[in-house]
């Protein structure tokens, strides 16, 4: 896992975006779920224990939601090289991907409502290898995402299928 010299980072706003996304998920999904499980468990185990456990879990989740995106941002690098697109990501589970330009079948940019507020987009790169995207770059400035999409989708060549 080496750094490429010309590797770029994402837009710094991505950290804020991811924090917001994680906090929303925490509020809407995780906390209600933990409380529901806690209520169910309270009938079996002592309720003080359950309360402490639920509060700890929520706190840990909250801390992760704030801190993790910064780590993710720090771990993410991408580079468009002569022959391929390099994407490197992951904090605990690291992943390094190289997608040759001539194997790219199509490139998508996607933008959800939260991403629109921050003016960011996601870039998805598809090859013939599978149903899902082979490479994805989240948290790009929309203009940069569109530039990359046009740049990557213009290169042709033998697709090896």
């Amino acid at each position: 896992m080496h750094d490429s010299t010309d590797a770029k980072s994402l837009d710094p706003k991505a950290v804020m975006l991811w924090r917001m996304q994680r906090l929303i998920r925490l509020l809407v999904v995780t906390i209600p779920m933990l409380i529901a499980v806690g209520i169910a468990a309270a009938s079996v185990v002592r309720s003080e224990l359950v309360i402490v456990l639920v509060i700890t879990l929520i706190a840990v989740n909250g801390v992760l939601a704030i801190s993790w995106p910064a780590l993710e941002y720090g771990a993410f690098r991408y580079a468009v090289r002569d022959e391929d697109l390099l994407v490197q990501s992951g904090v605990l589970f690291k992943r390094w991907s190289s997608i040759p330009h001539n194997r790219i079948q199509h490139v998508d940019t996607r933008q959800g409502p939260m991403e629109r507020i921050f003016g960011l987009s996601r870039l998805l790169v598809f090859t013939a290898a599978g149903m899902s995207a082979d490479g994805s770059i989240p948290g790009l400035r929309t203009a940069e995402a569109e530039r990359l999409r046009d740049l990557l989708s213009r290169r042709g060549g033998d697709d090896g299928v």
Binding site: E83, K94, R103, T127, A129, G135
Partner: protein, 589 residues
């Protein structure tokens, strides 16, 4: 939305043929009975699977707006106009032999229309399936549907408390069977195909009409299937796979043998297949299998699943016979009886497995054509698969322990086409069931000629020594979980489960010791497993993308895993250390 102009350079392959004959478009346009187009286009739900040229469907809405890109509109026009008007428009159910081509056209086509001819003719007549094929297909298809629902049927006949309950299940079976009969009928009644301007066009559907255009150069493999009924009637089913969806993209069931051969030859002239004229170039059959080898293959297939099914069915029978009988039987049950029953189950499932492989692989023969491999196999249902070598994505050899000890291995050829055969996804398009160990390298070499590597004589690079630690830890954890389960649920037998631990450790070591990888200028080889040794060989010019993954524990040991993806599948290499990974990253990207 990408504009139309942006879109074009990407699809040069797709429209190349259309552009070739762009010259004669104006005359065609004059000839065509224009009024049909506006009449029909609104009634036609455009479910065109040709995703690659969105401009076509746009063109269908208003032909007048298109102007310069006539060729796109034109291909739509052809579809619309060429649907046989009397039947295709109003009621396709009224199809009868009158749709059959008039004699002169038929002879024209049968007389061997060359590639150039199909490129230049303004309109090629549509052809339908063989009239008899409906009768021939109905029984086998209905049977296949019923057979696929055997768990339900078993339940109906063995279990089932009340009569109403059984009736409901029978209804389900009946509905599915009827649906399959209906589909067979629709396929037969509405399917029209033709080879037009270098493309294969297939129209089907009654309510949801579908017109499909297949570029012969994109065909991954062609399969000719002839079951017993087909061969009695002199028919053959043609299955054409491209790299698109999960089903066979072009299914023509069924054509007369002559029509099928002719269509295949027409496809061969434009695409990457080999026509029957070139059969003389057949190099000696690479592999052929005798009955003993087929039997050996059947016997070395995994049989534990079948044994489980037989055991469950036997148990169910005992319960049906009556609770007293079951109790009596279980009281008189000696360990020797249990072992005998298990042996019987194994022998039975082996017999079934051997029998099915005889049916599947009887007369197996694989031949190498100029730039394709062709396999022929089957006792009652004959299959003839042709795979162009340029489309082979990966070759995998499976050498399960028993088969390996007998001196054999299995070769599987994978292309980007995924087929669904009799309800199950078939990933390997070509399979060579039994290859003698010393011939494995020759067979793989001829299926991936570009790879130019022989993993049976070339020493492979081993997996990193530290990955053994990881394997051992993982195996111990897994064994401990099983031991814990054993201790909670089993009686005095629980001490037996402790034996799992040393077994798991030995297994982990053997598995690690047999791993290997190799990257040459042309190929990538990865080998895994001791009990079921698998070797993946792929040609580097098929590589779609390269990934390196590293989990937290792998990082602890400085290991990482390289995963290479080709169209249709992916292969992971054994775990490698930092230097090897860095080297692989450089070499593969």
């Amino acid at each position: 939305m990408v504009s139309e102009d942006d879109d074009k350079p990407e699809h040069t392959d797709e429209i190349a043929i259309d552009e070739l004959d762009g010259d004669d478009k104006p005359t065609e346009e004059a000839d065509r009975p224009e009024p049909h187009v506006p009449d029909e286009s609104p009634t036609r739900p455009f479910q065109r699977p040709r995703m690659s040229s969105p401009s076509v469907s746009e063109a269908g809405i208003d032909p007048a707006e298109i102007g310069p890109s006539v060729h796109d509109f034109d291909s739509v026009g052809m579809h619309l106009e060429a649907v046989p008007q009397p039947s295709g428009n109003g009621n396709p159910l009224m199809t009868d032999p009158s749709i059959e081509l008039p004699e002169p056209l038929d002879t024209l086509v049968a007389g061997g229309m060359m590639e150039a001819d199909t490129l230049l003719t303004p309109d090629t007549p549509w052809r339908s399936l063989h009239p008899v094929s409906l009768a021939v297909n109905l029984l086998p298809r209905a049977w296949a549907t019923v057979r696929n629902m055997w768990p339900i049927l078993l339940f109906i006949f063995l279990g089932g408390e009340g009569f109403g309950f059984r009736l409901a299940e029978l209804m389900i079976v009946l509905i599915f069977t009827l649906a399959s009969v209906w589909n067979t009928f629709i396929h037969w009644a509405t399917l029209r195909y033709r080879m037009h301007q270098g493309r294969l066009e297939i129209n089907t559907g009654l309510l949801n009409k579908q017109s499909r255009t297949i570029d012969p150069a994109r065909i991954q493999n062609v399969e000719l299937v002839q079951n017993l009924f087909h061969s009695w009637a002199g028919l053959v089913e043609l299955r054409i796979d491209t790299a698109g969806e999960l089903s066979t993209e072009g299914l023509l069931s069924a054509l007369s043998v002559e029509d099928a051969t002719e269509l295949r030859d027409q496809l061969a002239r434009v695409g990457s297949l080999t026509s029957s004229d070139d059969e003389s170039e057949v190099i000696e059959p690479i592999v052929s299998m005798g009955i003993p080898e087929i039997l050996a293959f059947g016997l070395t297939q995994r049989t534990i699943g079948t044994v489980a099914v037989i055991a469950i069915v036997g148990f169910e029978f005992m319960n049906q016979a009556g609770p007293e009988v079951a109790r009596e039987v279980s009281q008189n049950l000696q360990p020797s009886t249990i072992i005998a029953a298990l042996m019987l189950a194994f022998v039975g499932s082996w017999a079934v497995s051997a029998l099915t492989s005889i049916f599947r692989f009887y007369g197996y023969r694989m031949t190498r054509l100029d730039d394709a491999v062709r396999t022929t196999q089957g006792l009652t249902t004959k299959r003839n698969v042709e795979i162009p070598l340029s489309k082979v994505q990966m070759v995998r050899t499976d050498e399960p322990l028993v088969r390996r000890m007998m001196g054999y291995g299995t070769v599987l050829i994978e292309t980007a086409g995924l087929g669904v055969v009799e309800g199950q996804v078939r990933q390997a398009e070509g399979m060579v069931p039994m290859v003698e160990a010393e011939e494995l390298s020759a067979v793989t070499a001829c299926t991936v000629p570009h790879a130019n590597v022989d993993p049976w004589t070339t020493p492979l690079r081993p997996a990193h020594p530290r990955s053994l630690y990881r394997a051992i830890v993982a195996a111990s954890v897994r064994a401990c979980v099983f031991i814990a389960i054993g201790f909670t649920f089993l009686g005095y037998l629980k001490w037996l489960t402790v034996a799992l631990l040393p077994m798991a450790l030995i297994g982990a070591w053997l598995d690690w010791a047999k791993q290997g990888w190799l990257v040459t200028p042309n190929s990538i080889v990865s080998r895994r497993g001791f009990f079921n040794r698998r070797t993946f060989i792929l040609s580097r010019d098929k590589l779609q993308s390269v990934h390196v993954v590293q989990g937290p524990f792998m990082r602890l040991h400085g290991l990482s895993r390289v995963v290479v993806r080709v169209a249709g599948s992916q292969v992971s290499l054994p775990e490698t250390g930092a230097e090897d990974t860095a080297w692989l990253e450089d070499a593969l990207s």
